[in-house]
Amino acid sequence: MILVPGRSQKQGTSLNKGKLKDEYLEVTTTAELNEQDMRRLKLSNGDKIRLKSDIGQTVVTCISKKEEDLPSGMIFIPYGPSSSQLMGSDTAASGMPMSKHMQVEVTKVKS
């Protein structure tokens, strides 16, 4: 699936409290998936999932978004330490790593 890290309002307000505080950590480890993809992967809101790229992996909580709001095959996550674990260092001579279009594998983490 394609992972798109980006800004969210809650990320913006929580980083003012502190990036090491629980609220920021929670915001940046909560990924949004299309509800169709959630059904296909047998996931429910609040389940833990492992996102794995060629670079690294991270475990986050998933929540569903309506199909019309998030296309199938796409995951959105407020960017932060968790999404950085998946990001490659190649910048194609631009200085900018590929931060918004990462190929990831999604697996459910059994509790």
Binding site: V4, Q9, T13, G18, L20, S84, S94, M96, P97
Partner: protein
Amino acid sequence: MPEAAKSKPKESKNIRIVKDATCTFCGCVCDDMELTVDLDAHRITKAKKACVLGRAWFYEHTLEDRPVVLIDGKEATLDEGLDEAARILVDAKFPITYGLSDCPCEAQRVAVDIMDTINGNIDTTTSVCHGPSGMAFQGVGESTATLGEIKNRADLVIYWGGNPAESHPRHFTRYAVTPKGMFIPNGKKDRTVVLVDVRKTPSTPVADIFIQVKPGKDFELLWALRALVKGKKISEDIEEQTGVSREVLDDLVERMKNCQFGVLFMGMGLTMTRGRHFNSGAIYSLASDLNEFTHFVAKPVRGHGNVTGADNVVSWQTGYPFGVNFNRGYPRFNPGEFTTSDVLARGEADAAMIVASDPASNFSKKAIEHLEKIPVISMDVKETHTTRLSRVRFAVATYGINTGGTVYRMDDVPISLRPAFDSPFPTDQEVLEGICQRVKKMLSGSKARVAA
């Protein structure tokens, strides 16, 4: 909810009102705030006109109980911290400075001075923000305007790859969508707002037209628009490639050619994805092309409060906006070679001074791993992943809340800051000046020794 609003501390009598204060949380740099400051509690209790992000910025930046300086985790004096920081930088063979987008221009210029003095490498958060737009700007130029002109004149506003409702809430209400302007007397009613993005966001309801592009296909869509504006044929499978139908493209082209004043605002959905500077170059070129028919401009929507100031200051002093290296005794610019993410990921830097940013949180895994291996000096108003791994940490005052200075709005308009209350912590500028003086003294001593 911000703590100040939730806990409602007892109202003090020692209240100060700061009118026309400036919020430096994002690149909108709104300078019409009215702050109510409780001088006894050292906190802002009310921020009139601030958006949700601005309120969090003002309410959460109080005086924290932190040591001014920590060296290897142990409390030290300011002088000891400055001495150690200078020693680290002077001893390094490839010292770098990074960040600088959340401090005033007066501090930024001292950071450039330090790197110039020690033949180091200077880069700002621009390189992982609109650095690609800066590269495109150099390649194809920019048809530009201030946000004031846009407010007064723009009747077609296109946001591409951004979500201002969450990242820059007042961009809509103060500058580009709802405000009434000189030639836009009815505000939003006189404007058409278009949003292009890979997904629906809280910004989507603001738009009259939402265009959903397939991820990583922005360049193809922009190039097709350029072709249509010039009356050229485009591939018949454009919808299959980009997710956008020919009818939608034709309609947008007609609107762009026939508006009075159009603006293309680009977000990091263009610069952080496949295509990077080619995407930004395509959007700048599209705006330039449209000037054959009407007035059209393109502007990047900048993130941090003074990231635009960083571009300006580094440009004044080195000739280049970011990713500048002084190893040979003169400035060289080369994104990919001298940008911090690359310099760290390749393991080249052997010391880093990080000012007002958190690369240990936002950089690639490989870059962070190298940052963990080298001596790091950090300056920040709060604890971050970067301050945690730093050998020398300086806790500093918050710019715009505790300090004055100059910042640049995202449209390159400079704005003076009006501080709300004093801080016992030094400013970024004071710390950087202290390091700069020591570095110069150490180097003049070593030169004297060599000469002897």
